[in-house]
Each structure stands twice: as C-alpha cells, then as structure tokens.
Subunit: 116 residues, 2 copies
DNA sequence: GCCATAGTTAGGCATGTCCTTAACTATGAG
DNA sequence: CTCATAGTTAAGGACATGCCTAACTATGGC
C-alpha cells in the first residue's frame, strides 16, 4: 500500500482546473515553451505562468529555461500516483462486492452492513 | 474517447481534500451514517455535512435519510471517470514514448520536438 | 410528554484560487 | 545600440473553500 503523503491534495487540486488539464494534455504530446502553452488559452501570460507554477509545485510538470525560452515537460510519475490512488479505491470496492456476493450466496439472511 | 463534461473539475476538486478522501475510503468499505462518518474526524458536524455535500454534488456519494439517520454510500462510476481520464493521459504518454523510440532507432538525426 | 440523538440551517471569518493590469528584466536579431 | 520577443514580478479584486459557533428541527425511546 503506497504512502501518498500530502501530495495527493496538490495533485488533485492541480487537476481540478480545466485549463491545467488542457496544459497537461498538451504536454503529454511533447515538451513546449510557455508562450506555445499559452497560445490556445484565452488569458493573460501571467495567468498562464501561475498555472504552470501550480503544476510544477505538485510535480506534474518540470521546466527549464534556456536563453529566453522556458520549456515545460510533463512528469508522468505524479500522474501515476493519482491514478494509483483511484485504482486502489476501485479494487477495494470490487473486492467488497465479491465478498458480499459470496456472503449472500452462502447465507441469504441478514443484509449488508458496516465493513462486512 | 469519453466526453468528461465539466464534471472532472468537481470530482478532482472533491478529491483534493484529505478529509473527503478519507470519507471516500470509509464509504468504499460500506454504507455508513453521517455521525459514523464524522466520528474519526476532528471537526464539527456541520463541517462534515459540507464535505458530504461536496461529495454528493459531484456524484461521488449518494445519501438517503430514513427516520433521523442519513446513510451515505459511494457511487463508484464517478471515481472511474476520474481514473479513466488519468489512464488516458498515461497511455497517450506511453504511445508517444514508443513512437519516439521507433523514430530515434530509424533516423538518429534531429532530436524530439513538438507533436512528433 | 420529555429528553437525548441525529441532522440541519444560518452567519461569519480566515485563507486560498484565478484572474487582471502595469511595470519590469533578460535575450536575440539586425 | 535598438528594438521586439519571452518571460517575470507585484499588487489587487472577485469569488470560492473550509472551518467555526449558535440556534434550530425532526425522530425515537421511555
């Protein structure tokens, strides 16, 4: 069972914004400069910068400045961390359903309750 | 390719809080009353109620009041929606890495750039 | 009917988020 | 050097979030 630290807070928070999800989807296709990232977005450059900072703060994105161009790239590990947490919940749910099914087949007396 | 609507905003937002993730984990184990949900949490009941409302608003949780007890249960579909989005990003990333590998093996001239 | 239990509503406060404009720095082209 | 490009910093405004307390309603046990 992974640890997840407090980092899930920041990752899910980062992904809870349409603009930042669009940025992630763009960066999945390959590294890109700040102004290239900003181009399809209808907002000021400082606003874009702030989104990038949120993505960097949670480790979803890394960036490097060469000359006057900052190039951003995705960091897929953190994306995986979030996916893992969700998968863990889903499998817990599925295991519970299985146990519940077995139980009901065995002794169809009392309905479900609590941890079972 | 799924649609995801604007619902991902609310789901990720809901999951971006430690307390609400703890609630989800508890509810995965089975349906539970409001005060039972509140017990392990160090906050007032109204605060717990507000968290439940957030979880219900994004469809992660459904609840039903019988007598004076409100019983909450998880709604796993929405959890799956979030997981699907993340999986989609990851597989896009993996496919891109594959294409990149093929390309570099084929003609190791120009480095990666843009959509490739 | 009386009281404890379970939940709800209302109001308020501190902090966080998302965006803006204005002014600024640094780099590359000519 | 001069100018345009690429990005950055600072300050502030509008609104959302997460929590609280106080006061309230509804139900069930006796």
């Amino acid at each position: 069972m992974p640890n997840y630290g407090g980092s899930l807070d920041r990752v899910f928070q980062a992904l809870a914004d349409e603009t930042r999800r669009a940025m992630v989807q763009r960066l999945i296709r390959g590294p890109v400069s700040v102004s290239e990232l900003a181009r399809p977005l209808e907002m000021s450059l400082p606003a874009v910068m702030q989104h990038i900072q949120v993505l960097e703060a949670c480790g979803l994105v890394r960036s490097e400045k060469i000359g006057r161009v900052r190039t951003c790239r995705i960091e897929p590990d953190v994306l995986r961390t979030a996916e893992d947490w969700l998968a863990e919940q889903r499998t817990s749910w599925e295991r519970r359903l299985d146990r519940l099914g077995d139980y009901l087949l065995d002794d169809p007396g009392t309905p479900e309750q609590g941890s079972l």
